[in-house]
Symmetry: C2
Subunit: 366 residues, 2 copies
């Protein structure tokens, strides 16, 4: 059966960096091999650099990005805890669902989809929540929120509230400075701007959040206390086996992070900016309207209204079948009225922009 | 940095089938691409063949083998349910931990490690449990239990009790016939006899178990009702996005299963038998004693006592550093007194047997 090759220009996964593919296909190591543990340690260190944090507990969890969200709530929410969630898209919605499954008293702060998080409304939602959760780059809408501002405002008010941030679509594609931004808990995915296949959830926890984690969460698989003994060593200094780490995926992430850091985060961010702006200009020149609020648009993921009279699914199908290009539909109520176009990681390149614009122009013309 | 190549002859991961590596490195597909959904469907169908089941819900979960155990308990145990667990090694122990986190009233049936499960003692443990759980091939001890006998005995007694089986180390290495054996829920890993890197947990559920699943489990990530809408289609027939499936890992599993089925399960099982018996004979000829109870020894994973006066860790380190061969220590209280040697998947070959025996002989001689 012939292999099919796609240009993955949807909301993720994106095409992988060549280094990530090489990492996947490298000879497999065992999860207790000293060579692998060194590679895992270096992966943690590279994640710290990309995320701008000194957090000791910085590691890839063994599941796709969503497992990061689950790990965040199951390890840091106790029944009855007040959790304020800024909802400005699908992933904020999902946070409410996950937090409530673990017994949180969820206080939603609803926004129009496509808008950034309104910091004052989040502050006003509750005087002393145990946790505030927000999404940095909303994959469902293409809008970026000001996490630095949110973190500063929260910390200015009190020392107690923990700040939890979803970095799934921002990591590796834009500037992030978790420590300076006062973020306590963050998770991400590998399949967007990091240019690695889906299958790992980078995760990081500040020391002050670590001290407040749930001692024995309902989950065994995502019990950070147990995982911590493998990743950073236990109280005795030994690295106790927890579960078999997905060693090939970790090697892939390690390699992609090396590629990103060799290029330099500043250059990587600039590459995403240049590609995203070229795409957004091109779409507007074609007469299309962008969905996310102006001034808050992601470069790595562009949301655009489907033109009147155009059948969304038909265009996506033709891009896929005639050009091998995958773009995404809108999320939720915008499934048929919005497209999402990603230029993430290895795809944050001008050649991809021209390819997509040309193909879209051709399909819309006919 | 030079890549390191190992012979992975421990309890897993094992060296991958070449087809699995090719699957990993193939051009990445999106999780909603029709080509990927067809590949996922075929993966389910291949898993059914390897497992001997007609279960519609047969799918790879997005995590390592342990996530299968967690999914089994979180989706099928309600607080207060009586769960009988046959404990004859580390993974039975872990089942007790996981089940109790979800509120089960756990009834343990303890065995000596290395022994198979005693069916009568399991039956006698409780007259009407909601679930009985056992491990088919105990990775921690190298002992095989008679799941066919257990399933038949349970079904002869009542129609209500569900049977949950851990197939992590048996799948792809020995004969399994879940439907004939009356198994309702089973999970496995990819990194043992299937010869795929760690990162997926094959999972299957019978129709009668499906009808009794927990409606809204505490977990979002492992909520089988939600995952089912993506894998088998929802009530409307559509395949709703749940989380981003680890598409590269699924492609790898698909390719390895194809390899295994092309060779034929009968031949694969025979290959594991021949390699395991050759290893066990060779070890005994060297004067070593096998750990697991005679007549119940796995072929794919051999446990052997460390000879008197030999430092276990020193031998393992020398095998690793001088020969590039990884073998495993014992588990739990046998950490320093037992070795575990795996001949799984691509490693179930006579050349690996000779290599290991020769290296071990050399190291023990000095």
């Amino acid at each position: 059966m012939a292999l099919v090759e796609r240009s993955l220009l949807g909301p993720g996964p994106s095409n992988t960096y060549p280094e990530a593919t090489a990492g996947l296909a490298a000879p497999l190591l065992g999860h207790l091999d000293p060579e692998f543990l060194a590679l895992l340690d270096e992966t943690g260190s590279r994640l710290r650099t990309v995320w701008g944090t000194q957090n000791l507990r910085t590691l890839p969890l063994s599941g796709t990005g969503s497992i990061g969200m689950e790990a965040a709530f199951v390890n840091f929410v106790r029944p009855g805890d007040v959790v304020v969630v800024a909802v400005n898209g699908l992933f904020g919605e999902r946070m409410c669902d996950v937090a409530s499954r673990y017994g949180a008293e969820v206080v939603r702060v609803d926004h129009s989809w496509g808008d950034p998080v309104d910091i004052q409304r989040v502050l006003d939602a509750h005087p002393e929540p145990s946790l505030v959760a927000a999404v940095h780059a909303e994959t469902s809408t293409g809008a970026r929120s000001d996490i630095a501002g949110l973190g500063a405002a929260l910390r200015a008010r009190d020392e107690r509230t923990l700040l939890l941030v979803d970095c799934v679509t921002s990591i590796g594609g834009e500037h992030i400075d978790l420590d300076a931004w006062n973020v306590d808990i963050a998770y991400a995915g590998t399949q967007k701007c990091l240019g690695v296949p889906p299958g790992l959830a980078p995760f990081t926890v500040s020391e002050r959040a670590w001290q407040r984690r749930v001692d024995k969460p309902t989950t065994w698989y995502l019990d950070l206390g147990l995982i911590g003994n493998y990743v950073t060593g236990g109280s005795s200094g030994g690295r106790a086996y927890h579960h078999t780490a997905p060693t090939a995926m970790v090697a892939s992430l390690h390699a992609a992070l090396g590629r990103v850091l060799d290029e330099g985060m500043e250059s990587v961010v600039e590459r995403h900016r240049a590609a995203g702006e070229a795409l957004q200009s091109g779409l507007q020149e074609m007469g299309l309207s962008l969905f996310a609020a102006e001034g808050h648009r992601l470069h790595q993921l562009t949301s655009v209204w489907v033109p009147d009279g155009v059948e969304s699914a038909d265009v996506r199908k033709r891009l896929l079948n005639e050009y091998g290009i995958e773009i995404g539909s809108g999320a939720g109520q915008f499934a048929n009225s919005v497209w999402r176009i990603g230029l993430m990681g290895h795809n944050a390149r001008l050649d991809r922009v021209e390819m997509l614009l040309g193909a879209l122009r051709s399909v819309l013309r006919r």
